[in-house]
């Protein structure tokens, strides 16, 4: 049975008059009994309409005039059970019209033939699918205009009905939950595409302008705007009930995706002529190669991924080496066609990367979860780093001139945004701490300086002073013009990713 109540009647009337199909009526009446939705669309509608004519408070008892009596048994007989066509007088005609709420998706596109078509498309690409993966039909979005009441989620109903399909059931013998394999089913409806656009003018602060071609009207933005807009304003911009659609939805091609795989590790950079990410200005490549491309190359081909997103716990300049245990990084591999690798295979991948170039080295390579990315980024803000720098002094120095350096502890440094990054960063003063330093004399104009500093300290500017905009600075401390000739990162003190024993 449908689990509709007498109190639902006025709503049902309104919804049917507005042009909703049977299943959408059930959704808006918050019917939680899933089997109700799995009845065929014709039966659904019939039962809904029948609700309107029940007179007593007991939904099982009817006092209908005989001409309108529908036999329960016939209705429950199953999908194609002979349903009597309802007489037209007072009932709204809903069956042949396209539903104003689901645009036909819950009417036509849930039937056997469509489902089979989707499955066949999937199987065509993955012939062994029935042996390995569960199909997870992705939720897709449909903005339901004009009706702002709580309803059962649209996508859930779609899935419920699809999963009934016997064709599908026969392929679900091997189920691997959360396999990461996604089948995307979608629909377009050109007629109603522009319906939500008025929200951009009424609630402009909910919509962020996008640089690429992607639509401004994301699900999140539209939902936010719908929550914000007052009922009156909404109604003055959009008809309620909505206009009956003249066309049905068009199904989009079924797309198959694998959820991203995340690979993490630590990298060393041994070259002083290698940027971390590609260096491109005005479309022109300024320097060949980059750390991310050297790491991504072998990974992209082994995982057969479509693309990648590289991120790391901070970064270093082109001319700075990264030594010691290296800097943590994580790479998101997009739509990998192969996603499962055992430890030995990952070790092999690491070897491949390391032998492909002498400019970088990778260690502790491992597959991690998306959540792990957060751990890495926290290192960027909070953890300390150690550096070694080659310093030149204008004034000639002796060993003793450097003695004071090892006694400096927890030195607070105020750094105005360095001029070399000021074109793309806000102007501000940042206070940072240099925890400790030590110096080794080399000759009368050179020494090696080791520093242990707070994350986010600009070392080069601490040394030469950046036109006096970093204070204190090494020039002032040594009372001489000094400059930094070379810089190396000795350690990035983040204890992630976990070490992988070689």
């Amino acid at each position: 049975m449908l689990s509709l109540k007498e109190k639902d009647r006025p709503i049902i009337r309104k919804l049917l008059d507005a042009g909703c199909c049977g299943r959408c009526v059930l959704r808006f009446c918050c019917v939680g009994k899933y089997s109700s939705y799995q009845l065929s669309i014709e039966v659904c509608v019939a039962l809904v309409v029948r609700m309107l004519f029940l007179r007593s408070s007991d939904p099982t008892q009817t006092e209908d005039p005989p001409s309108k009596k529908l036999k329960l048994e016939t209705l429950q007989a199953g999908d194609d059970g002979g349903t009597e066509t309802l007489t037209a007088n007072a009932e709204p005609k809903v069956q042949s019209e396209i539903c104003v709420a689901c645009l036909g998706v819950l009417q036509d596109f849930c039937d056997q033939s469509y489902t089979t078509q989707v499955i066949i498309e999937v199987l065509f690409i993955f012939p062994k699918l029935h042996q390995s993966y569960i199909l997870l039909l992705d939720n897709f979005m449909l903005i339901t205009p004009g009706v702002k009441i709580q309803a059962v989620q649209f996508g859930l109903i779609f899935l419920l009905i699809i999963f009934q399909s016997s064709v599908l059931k026969s392929y679900m013998s091997f189920c691997i939950p959360q396999s990461g394999f996604e089948v995307s089913v979608g629909f377009t409806h050109a007629e109603t595409d522009g319906d939500c656009h008025f929200l951009a003018t009424t609630c402009s602060d909910c919509f962020k302008p996008t640089k690429n071609k992607a639509s401004v009207f994301t699900r999140m933005a539209v939902v936010k705007a719908l929550e914000k807009i007052s009922d009156q304003k909404f109604l003055s911009n959009y008809p309620c009930p909505p206009v009956h659609p003249a066309t049905r939805c068009t199904p989009l091609d079924t797309t198959l995706l694998h959820a991203s795989v995340f690979i993490a590790g630590r990298y060393n950079k041994f070259s002083r002529e290698l940027p971390q990410t590609p260096w491109v200005i005005d479309g022109e490549r300024r320097m060949e190669g980059s750390v991310e491309e050297l790491i991504a190359g072998p990974l992209l081909s082994s995982f057969r991924a479509d693309g990648f997103n590289f991120s790391s716990s901070g970064r270093e300049d082109v001319d700075v080496r990264t030594l010691g245990n290296g800097r943590p990084f994580a790479m998101e591999l997009l739509n990998p066609h192969r996603a499962r690798f055992n430890k030995a295979e990952i070790r092999q991948l690491q070897e491949t990367i390391n032998t492909s170039s002498d400019k970088i080295r990778v260690r502790d390579l491992q597959i991690v979860t998306r959540e792990a990315m957060g751990r890495m980024k926290e290192g960027e803000e909070e953890k300390t780093k150690t550096y070694s720098a080659l310093i030149w002094t204008k004034k000639p120095i002796t060993h003793t001139d450097l003695d004071f350096i090892k006694n400096i502890k927890e030195l607070k440094v105020d750094q105005k945004t360095p001029l070399r990054v000021l074109h793309r960063r806000p102007l501000a003063v940042r206070q940072r701490v240099i925890h400790s330093m030590s110096a080794s004399f080399l000759d009368t104009h050179h020494f090696k300086l080791q520093l242990h500093t707070q994350a986010g300290t600009y070392i080069k500017e601490f040394v030469h002073g950046d036109f006096g905009r970093t204070k204190p600075n090494l020039c002032a401390l040594m009372d001489s013009e000094v400059d930094i000739l070379e810089l190396d990162v000795e350690s990035v003190d983040v204890d992630w990713p976990p070490a992988v024993p070689e």
Binding site: L419, L422, P426, H445, F467
Partner: protein, 181 residues
């Protein structure tokens, strides 16, 4: 590789040499020898400084006062920028005054922007320590930081002299035996 630096160091390029191009504006507003030096970073940010031939830096002059208030309605100290795009910074043209400097011999000089762009900051350290301007005019004693518009970043130097051209102008002055400024 570390120690190879020793010989090169006698003429080792400084930070300024490595990252900045020097441009000059001589005899600003027709005033003899009032030369400005603009340090242009490869990222298009410019530092306005006094060139070594500027009168303030000659004859052991001392500074009595530096004033960033250039008119009743405008003080460069009120310049506030916010965000990455540096909104709120005063937009300057070539002849916009940055500050007025009075020396102990009561000579007054105005330092000008020399380029078009948005004022990011003026050097407040020289207010507290005017000697910085005399001792390190090309580094710690800079006057202001200006960000030209992206589309103008190449053209702003059209009205300026290169280092070589500047040196020519200066040598012509001494050969014409002008009074030192």
């Amino acid at each position: 590789c570390v120690f190879a630096m020793e010989e090169a160091d006698k003429t080792a390029p400084s930070v300024t040499d490595r990252y900045y191009t020097r441009w000059y504006k001589t005899d600003m507003k027709g005033k003899p020898c009032e030369d400005h030096c603009i340090l242009q970073h490869s990222n298009r940010i410019c530092l306005i400084t006094l060139a070594e031939t500027h009168p303030i830096l000659q004859n052991g002059r001392k500074i009595k006062n530096i004033n960033y208030k250039i008119s009743d309605g405008c003080s460069r100290l009120n310049n506030k920028v916010s965000g990455k795009s540096k909104r709120g910074g005063q937009f300057l043209t070539e002849f916009a005054p940055l500050c007025r400097i009075t020396c102990t011999d009561n000579m007054e000089y105005t330092v000008f922007s020399c380029i078009r762009g948005r004022l990011l900051e003026v050097n407040e350290d020289i207010l507290k320590h005017p000697d910085l301007l005399l001792e390190k005019p090309s580094t710690d004693g800079y006057i202001a930081v200006i960000l030209p518009k992206l589309e103008e970043s190449k053209s702003i130097t059209n009205g300026l002299l290169t280092r070589e051209q500047y040196e020519e102008v200066v040598s012509k002055r001494t050969s014409q035996q002008q009074e030192p400024c």
